[in-house]
Each structure stands twice: as C-alpha cells, then as structure tokens.
Symmetry: C2
Subunit: 211 residues, 2 copies
DNA sequence: ACCCCGGATAGCCGATCGGATGATGCCGGA
DNA sequence: TCCGGCATCATCCGATCGGCTATCCGGGGT
C-alpha cells in the first residue's frame, strides 16, 4: 500500500496564491491540502484542528502578526508540524527571522512547482530545504558576520531619517557634534555605506528602521 | 444562449500565482484562461496567437522587460486586449507607470476572488477598475496638492537611496552634475525636506520607493 | 588583571552639498 | 497661442559632511 499522504496547511493572505498552491499540491498523489488560513490567528486554529505534517507559511500576512511570529506560535504547539516558508522575498532579515522562529525551509514563490513538491516532501521528512538563492545569501552572510547596530546608533539613524544635520542631532541627543560624527562613522562601517542617504535606505531595508 | 466567454491570458513569472489565477478563473462559467506567459517575450507571443479579451499582467517579471513595458508592447498590437494589472504593490510610481503604459485596471493580489472576477468582467467591457487602496491613494493625491514626483525624479531618488553622490548620479544618468542638483532641489521642495537622507526616508514612507 | 566595545570628545581638511539665480528647449493642456 | 511643467545646463558660495587620527572612561567577558 501507498505511504501515508502528507498533510499540508496553507497560510497566506493572498487568495490567489492559496488557490494556486492548492491546485498544484492537490494534484500530487502523495500530498493533501487539509486546511487554509489567511492570518496568524486562523493559522494557529487550523493547525491545531487539522494536525498537518507541513505548514506552508507566507511571511507577509497583511495586518497583525507576520509569518515569522506565526511560525513561532505554530512551533510552540504540542507535536508541532514542520514549517516551510514560501514567500516572495529573500531579504536577509526575513530569512534570519524565519529560521530563528523555527522554520525548516525557505522557498521563493517563483520556484517551479517541482521544486515546491520536493521541498514539501523533504520538509515532511524533517530535512532542511533552502532555495538556491537563499542558500547562497546565507553562506555569504556566514562568511561575513553582519555587525549589530547599537541602541545609540539606532537613535542617530532615526534622526538621520528625519533629515537632521549633525549639529541638530547633537542638540537633540545632548552630546557634542564630534560624538554624532563618531556614531555616524560607525554606522557607515556597519551598514557598508558611506553616505547618509545610503544609511537610511539600508537601515529601512534591514528593518532597523520602520518605514 | 450564454454570452461569449471572456478570453483571458495570464502574465506572471510566478508559477504558483498562474496556477492560482487559472484555478479560480477557469471555475467561472463566463471566463476562460486561454494562455499563460512567464515573461515579456512570451506574453507578446501568446497574446498575438490567442487574441484574448483581457490580459492579467504582473508588474515584476523577473529579468528583462517589466510588466509596464510589456503592457506597452501588448497595447501596441493591432486590436489590443485590455490590460488589467494584478500585482502585489501599489507604489505611486508603479501605478502611474502602469496607467501611463495603457493599463485599464489595477488590482492587488490580496484581493478576494470575487473582486478579481468583477474586475476582469469590467475590464473586458472597457471599464476602468481600480483596487480600493489604489483608488484611495489616487484620490488623496488628487485632493491634497501634494505635487507628484516626475519619473526622472524617481530615478534620482533610486540612485540617492543607493548612496550615490551627485557626480556619480550624473555619470549614471548621462547628464551634467548641475542637472542632478536641479532635480534634487525639486525633489526637496516636493517632498518637503532639505536633505538627501530625509528625501530617501520620505520617499520610502510615501511608497514612491520600495524598501 | 586585561582587553575590547560602546559612548563621548577633539581638531583638521578636502570633497560635497544645498541654496540662490538664471537660462534654454520641448511638449501638452487651457 | 501662451503658460506651465519637465528636463537640461551653468556659476557662485557658504555650510556641511566624511575620513582620519587620538584620547578618555566605564563595564563585561576571558
């Protein structure tokens, strides 16, 4: 007789994507979509009810808790399912957050269906599955550890995004202009940029600042 | 007897999204998916062969020409189909560019299926269909005298966010440094800022740039 | 005990920026 | 047709920035 079918739950706020994954996955003999959720609360509920083997998780779930936080919640359930992140972007922060939250795999939505199926089966077996571009990025980062920005530096970044000059920041933070310049230099080094504008853009992209 | 079925072609580089839209649309009695394309060249070819009533167009098509440019190409064909943009983001620049390219509608991928169907039918009849959030944004812009940033200025903003200096931008855009400075001054005025860092932050916040 | 890191401070200097001012050509709407 | 917006270019000048080199202090880890 055949193996046990792999039970899959979809978590994605885009109805179109849910329909697409369901259509593709359900057409496979060994895979079954047993539930769908459009947000974090639904996800936890559906996973609790259906006890799937694998959860396909989108990272951006519109309002409320995101995919990373939802992954954490799902993984905190008793006998948790494996979570395979299926999302559009492979930002450094996204990947790290997801893996940290307990995701077993990270796939991009532009992956061909075959790759998706293989990833689901692998994840169900407890393997770690990474999209090629994601794997590449992780290796790069592993080679060069990205230094963390200190609290004070984040303050500077906030003022920077508001367009303040060094003198104004100094007044705002009650320190000397020299100190501000010092912080800025460190920020440039850590973010790998050499201008204020670049620092702001990079800080927002790395989610150090919220847009 | 029933009306003529509406013939639809999908253009999207994500297999998952194509499968989803196809599954949803094909389930409707009056809608038929008659072709799919994953990039610009395929899109033009498929549209030429299948002569659809409506093209569902994603704006980001991976490498090569984007959805806006592809929309232009498709609309330049003889007896062109109506183009309904179906994408993830509603950045001001994206919307303007798409409409300028001849798109008849703009819908977001998180729209519920019903809305998608109504949009397709409306577009087929030659109506203009905008997603609520997009319509809201356009109305805001129209109501408040917040001056719109020109395409060239958006280019400048992009380079700005990458931390380029005026000299570098000038080289990149094949214009003189004076021109760059002129654009920057206009940008500052329009965005209500007076520094590069502030311009980047404001541009991202107003979704003129994507983070 | 020692060293590293975050934070604060200082001065110097060349490169760059931002503001002001003015001019040209093109195109599209009133 | 005229006006306005867009894009282009030019100068001038004071203010600011970014890189560099140093110093000092306090706390946490080895």
């Amino acid at each position: 007789m055949a193996e046990q079918r792999i039970r899959v739950v979809l978590v994605d706020d885009h109805p179109v994507v849910r329909a697409g994954v369901r259509a593709l996955v359900d057409a496979q003999d060994d895979l079954d979509v047993v539930g769908e959720a459009a947000d974090s609360a639904q996800a936890v509920a559906v996973v609790g009810e259906t006890r799937p083997d694998v959860v396909l998780m989108d990272l951006s779930l519109g309002d409320g808790p995101g995919g990373a936080e939802t992954t954490r919640l799902v993984r905190d359930l008793p006998e948790p399912p494996h979570v395979l992140v299926l999302t559009t972007y492979d930002t450094e922060a996204d990947v790290l957050e997801a893996v940290d939250a307990g995701a077993a795999g990270y796939l991009l939505k532009d992956a061909p269906p075959d790759e998706l199926f293989r990833a689901i089966r692998g994840t169900a077996r407890g393997e770690t599955v990474l999209a090629p571009s994601v794997a590449t990025r992780l290796l790069q980062r592993a080679a060069s550890p990205s230094p963390k920005v200190s609290p004070r530096e984040v303050e500077i970044l906030r003022l920077l995004a508001r367009g303040l000059g060094n003198k104004e920041m100094a007044r705002e933070l009650l320190v000397s202009e020299a100190t501000v310049k010092s912080h800025l230099s460190h920020i440039y080094t850590k973010l790998g940029v050499d201008t204020r504008a670049g620092a702001v853009a990079t800080a927002i992209e790395r989610r150090i600042l919220r847009p």
